[in-house]
């Protein structure tokens, strides 16, 4: 069980994982401050 969100940081890698795991992507544009 994850204790934090394990964010991907690369768009292409996230899409590749999405296809492989048959899940959608949630894309968060954030302000790193």
């Amino acid at each position: 069980m994850e204790t934090k969100i394990n964010w991907e940081s690369k768009f292409d890698k996230a899409l590749a994982r999405a296809k492989e795991e048959k899940k959608p992507v949630i894309l968060d544009f954030f302000n790193p401050g």
Binding site: E2, I5, S9, F11, L15, K23, P24, V25, L27
Partner: protein
């Protein structure tokens, strides 16, 4: 989001069970321009082919975020004409997060999904009546207004 919403165990579990989480700075090139992002936080639900299906701008607490993510899943399946899959997520939203800000839109699209499945207009009218009764001031009640005549 980092202080309140993302550390919430329910959010962490829901995100990992249902999504690939991707996070980029608001000025990431070329993504920020590709998705026309002007403010943060902007959260976008994408299918695995990179197409957008749902978007929110601004802070969401844990309950509102999970409800919004369920709505995004429902809209993703709706856009792909998988209406039974869409209904699973919309029904879950309406059973577990009926008081959320995403609920009126979910009621609207639930009616549309049921109509698409059966070609019976009754669910559209039922959706309007539920919206009128429970969310009379919602924009989705206004959008469903013509269905009162069905």
């Amino acid at each position: 989001m980092d202080a309140v919403t993302y550390p919430d165990p329910k959010v962490i579990k829901f995100l990992h069970q249902n999504f690939i989480p991707l996070r980029v700075p608001f000025d990431a090139k070329p993504l920020a321009a590709d998705f026309n992002v002007k403010w943060t936080p902007t959260l976008i639900t994408l299918s695995a082919d990179g197409k957008e299906h749902h978007r929110t701008v601004g802070f969401l607490g844990p309950e509102e975020l999970v409800a919004s993510l369920l709505l995004g899943l429902g809209k993703l399946f709706f856009d792909n004409e998988k209406f039974n899959e869409a209904l699973k997520h919309l029904d879950k939203l309406l059973s577990d997060y009926a008081k959320s800000d995403s609920a009126p839109e979910a009621i609207y699209f639930r009616g549309v999904c049921r109509y698409k499945n059966t070609h019976d207009p009754k669910p559209l009218k039922e959706g309007y009546e539920k919206l009128q009764a429970e969310y009379p001031l919602s924009e989705w009640t206004k959008r469903a207004y013509p269905y009162r005549l069905l």
